[in-house]
Symmetry: C2
Amino acid sequence: MNRKELTALMRRKRSFLCVGIDPDFERIPKHLKITADDPLFEFNRRIIDATIEYAVAYKPNTSFFEAHGSKGWHSLEKTITYIKDHPKGPVFTIADAKRGDIGNTAKQYARAFFEQMPFDAITVNPYMGHDCVQPFLQFKDKWAIVLGITSNPGAMDFQMLQPQLPLLLEKMGIKTVYWKKLYETVIGQSINWGNVDNMMFVVGATHSDQVSHIRELAPNHFFLIPGVGAQGGKLEDIAAKAMNKEVGILVNASRSIIYASSGEDFDVQAGKAAKALQGQMDAILKQHQL
Amino acid sequence: MNRKELTALMRRKRSFLCVGIDPDFERIPKHLKITADDPLFEFNRRIIDATIEYAVAYKPNTSFFEAHGSKGWHSLEKTITYIKDHPKGPVFTIADAKRGDIGNTAKQYARAFFEQMPFDAITVNPYMGHDCVQPFLQFKDKWAIVLGITSNPGAMDFQMLQPQLPLLLEKMGIKTVYWKKLYETVIGQSINWGNVDNMMFVVGATHSDQVSHIRELAPNHFFLIPGVGAQGGKLEDIAAKAMNKEVGILVNASRSIIYASSGEDFDVQAGKAAKALQGQMDAILKQHQL
């Protein structure tokens, strides 16, 4: 799916909701484990049916499938096929795989997610540099979503690293030149590897104070924004800071939707949670004349 | 496999060779694609049989399996089982997966590689911080191998980043305090997340000038060293700089062994290439009184 189609989809559905498909076997409703041949897929299928009216994207996280071996990987294949063939589609699909490896290896990962499976996008880790991201940028209408700043506590360890000298001087009252944090360098460099049609950035909603600044660094790129809801980010606040005139954001919600209930009505409750978020998004889009 | 067992294995086999299992379908000998039900596994099986006498470790790279979907993942499962059950074992096994994601996700990856499959170790990407590595450190006699400095060109993009001010001052003849490169900070911090019994570092042989320094940063940790051979690193040079009194290094070779021949004798040639490397390693171990 290309940028124009994604933007049109958001306007039509009045939503920028991405539903994270993280089927943790321990949290899947018990009755599915008894009745379904493939509980992972059955859980996903019912979540998708219940939420596709409100979502513009789905983001299965590969780890929850790999934990079940080749059988789990097969559940992932069934899930992406189910989304792609859904009568209420199209929707945008993201493999949350956070891959990152040298060129000949990255090429294999690109094949896995863009050819072997029909994902539109994959999340990629930029730590190993340009040759690890570029192979994902060679596919028409496919996307690499580069980790900019993530929503987890560990984001502070390296992504927010900043040289100490200017900070020290500032404390001493000496004004120093502006000094980059690591994530700013990562976004500033990796933005040159691709373009607005094949690259997005992950921008964690938990770093609300950085979001406006990241939008300045990458005014026209789509952002995939995790961390709203369970992790503490506020939807309106983030949208105000991160949206651009083409919407420009995909806000992900996983646990607050897919585990809205652990009972037999899990899909009904997931649908309600997705609908509530879509309602808020519709209002935000209107506020921004979109 | 724990540290003591790994060191004993190296001394007994007179080798610190890790064979990288990167079965690129385009490079697998043609006859296997016709005769074998599962060419990927058949290729690996014959490579393993031909080299296990000389290798102390195998490192399958997950991308080459994922490129074939759930069928490929099943080939990976068969490969690790084959290695674990090999009559000429035990050998150390590394999933070259370079995973890195938030806590609840990392936990699933740990299950995938340490429980669902019996790998001894997995390579992990530290960019997202401590909570993305710690779940891999909770398993007895299992290892997280953290990317320190990688062997690819893109390693220069971020891993070698160094603040510009001290460099500028140095050029002006003004001596500055020592200033850390990103990889030094990454190793310096992540070394505290685990210990010498559950953590190793990837140290690319292409950064020969950094290796002695990295050994100072982490005197007692095992290093997994890619980039010798095809990528340009010299075995004797790297060993001299990186070995410690418990050997302390696993040197990986992939393409130079597994693609030593593309003919029907590919396994024989792989065995010869592995034997030649092991012979060099034996001599190096002797030089170091090991």
